[in-house]
């Protein structure tokens, strides 16, 4: 353990934490992602937007191997994703993922949802895992719900729990797939606030979202995807005020 981390801090500190090189993916004959090249630096915050079906979810799901890519390379924190199951599990512990539909475990209490990964994957003692969990619940302002079950919480609360659950694994990168689009409007803000806090603390984040306010205030880079390709990427300022690509312009005119 220690020797690999030491090696990593020396050699890879300036290297991108996520690197996608000429990555392609097909569903059967359907070419979902074509020639994706992406470098994400540590502490960088990237917002990805684009029309429905453009492959945003598929791309970020490839990063923790919920989907398999067929060509090109994906390297996460120095670990290349191949069929090697050990590597996949290692990458998954380094990458946290937040889903549109929360995907909390309904048969476990909030606290158990949070401690499950640390106890079974990170082999933390139960007590320590619970302390960490309470700390993160505190952070997403929901500590008083620890003993409840997910079904007893509102959507916004569930999504904050889902974020805390990922954080308990001490990830280096967080992936968000439309974290607020299944929420009632009045709950969107409470979730975005948590994400903004996280960004302020320097978490590396890849966020698929159509919350353009969030993109403008938080993102270092905004990317626009269409038909399986990254069509345009720029700083939020340039991206919104001065889009280059026709498709980006059309998309922005529709959602702004």
């Amino acid at each position: 353990m220690t020797d690999t981390t030491a090696q990593k801090t020396d050699a890879t500190i300036d290297q991108p934490i996520i690197e996608l090189i000429g990555m392609h993916k097909w569903y059967g004959d359907f070419h979902v992602l074509s020639d994706i090249n992406l470098k994400v630096a540590r502490r960088e915050r990237i917002v990805i937007c684009g029309p429905s079906g453009s492959g945003k979810s598929t791309m970020i799901r490839c990063i923790n191997r919920l989907e398999e890519h067929q060509r090109g390379r994906i390297i996460v924190d120095g670990i290349e994703l191949t069929n090697d199951i050990k590597n996949i599990e290692k990458v998954r512990t380094e990458v946290g993922m937040v889903f549109q539909h929360f995907n909390l475990f309904p048969h476990l209490t909030i606290l158990e949802n949070l401690t499950l990964g640390p106890i079974w994957v990170r082999k933390e003692p139960k007590k320590e895992a619970e302390e960490t969990a309470m700390m993160f619940l505190e952070k997403v302002k929901i500590a008083e719900q620890a003993k409840k079950y997910p079904g007893q919480l509102s959507g916004g609360q569930q999504q904050r729990v889902a974020i805390a659950r990922s954080l308990c694994m001490r990830p280096n990168v967080m992936l968000f797939d439309e974290p607020t689009s299944a929420l009632d409007p009045e709950m969107v803000k409470e979730v975005l606030d948590v994400m903004i806090d996280l960004a302020d603390e320097g978490m590396t984040m890849l966020v698929v979202t159509h919350e353009m306010g969030f993109a403008k205030s938080v993102a270092d880079r905004v990317m626009f995807m269409d038909e399986g390709q990254i069509v345009e990427e720029n700083t939020p300022h340039e991206f919104f005020d001065n889009p280059q690509n026709e498709r980006t312009k059309l998309f922005l005119s529709q959602i702004l």
Binding site: R92, G96, N103, L104, F105, L116, V121, Y149, P150, G151
Partner: protein
């Protein structure tokens, strides 16, 4: 928002008197039109015809503890057949002077079941406690270590029924779960093996499985090796029940959304952990009702072992009825058996309902 304003000024009226209370209920459910009224009256009349004579037969004119001769003189039920033959009905051919052993074993078994029905006792102690309990039960039934040996051919009556069903369930359930998981496997070899097993077994009646276990199976064994008949029947029951459990569990697995698998994966859980901690607890909970249905029918199906000459509690009762002294009291004997089976089955379904409630976590 407008709704809220409207509701503050809304008046809540009580429902009309005819809609509530006994009268309302009667009108609503029994006399809401001429046809239902007619059915109600007919039903009440037939109950009136049936119930009083039944009570008279079962309780007024009946004898509970007497010898067979006394029963000849009464019109009512001769319940005496049960206490008078209790030893044989319950313990069959187990040597009379040793019958305290199966009795103790059964009491121990019931105590274990009662102990484990409390969810608070589902901890690390449960497994050693059961292992110890089973060991003691096996010792009591079989003997050795100071007790005279009673070979399994003499095990009969209620202990045999309970043993075949309980171990049938305990063996079939995990096997069924494994088969269900195997059927979902991405490895074609495992998958097709499980499919073949499940479809083959489900296509064959239990009776023929029992026949195979008792007649065909020994033919394949090398000379001189015999496997106990009770054990073979037990294995046949397990193999048979597991196939049904597997299909029910598969239904439960399909009800779990893809998101649960993905959430488990993205936490870095491996396949075994994801199944054990996330997927199975939810899937198995969903299928508690149909699973208990299968377990209940497995319990009742143990009575089929008579066809391979094992004496379960149904068969010992039948043997009692063939005794000339007690011939002709089959209604009483079978009613007693029905009540006995009902108690066990009802306990199971009642417990499953409680368990389902206890495991409910909202949503």
């Amino acid at each position: 928002m407008t709704d809220k304003n409207a509701s503050t000024s809304r008046k809540y009226l009580k429902p009309p008197v005819t809609e509530v209370g006994v009268l309302g209920w009667l009108r609503e459910n029994l006399f809401n039109n001429w046809f239902n009224s007619l059915l109600t009256i007919l039903t009440i009349y037939s109950l009136f015809l049936v119930i009083p004579p039944l009570i008279k037969w079962a309780f007024v004119d009946s004898l509970w503890f007497s010898d067979a001769a006394a029963c000849r003189d009464i019109d009512g039920a001769c319940w005496s057949i049960i206490p008078a033959n209790a030893r044989f009905i319950f313990f069959g051919f187990f040597p009379e002077d040793q019958q305290w052993r199966p009795l103790t074993a059964m009491i121990l078994l019931l105590a274990l079941v009662l102990y484990s029905q409390n969810r608070r006792s589902w901890n690390k102690l449960l497994f050693p406690i059961w292992t110890a309990g089973l060991f003691v039960m096996g010792w009591l039934m079989h003997g050795g270590l100071g007790l005279p040996v009673v070979e399994t051919a003499k095990w009969s009556g209620l202990p045999l029924t309970l043993m075949l069903s309980l171990f049938g369930m305990v063996g079939a359930y995990p096997l069924g779960v494994l088969l269900a998981l195997g059927r979902q496997s991405r490895l074609p070899a495992i998958k097709s093996l499980c499919v073949v097993y499940i479809e083959l077994i489900r296509g064959v009646p239990l009776i023929s499985m029992l026949f195979m276990s008792s007649i065909m199976f020994p033919l394949f064994l090398p000379e001189g090796i015999t496997i106990d008949k009770v054990l073979r029947a037990q294995v046949a029951i397990i193999i048979f029940t597991a196939a049904y459990i597997a299909e029910v569990v598969r239904g439960g697995l399909q009800a779990i959304t893809k998101g649960q698998y993905e959430a488990a994966d993205s936490l870095g859980l491996n396949y075994g952990q994801a199944m054990r901690l996330i997927i199975l607890p939810q899937a198995l909970k969903i299928v508690i009702p149909p699973t208990v249905g299968i377990l209940i029918s497995a319990f009742k199906d143990t009575s089929l072992v008579v066809i391979i000459a094992l004496y379960d509690v149904l068969k010992t009762t039948k043997v009692t009825l063939s005794n000339p002294k007690w011939m002709g009291y089959s209604s009483e004997a079978y009613l007693f058996l029905a009540v006995l089976y009902f108690i066990f089955c009802y306990a199971m379904s009642n417990y499953s309902r409680k368990l389902e409630k206890a495991l409910h976590t909202g949503r």
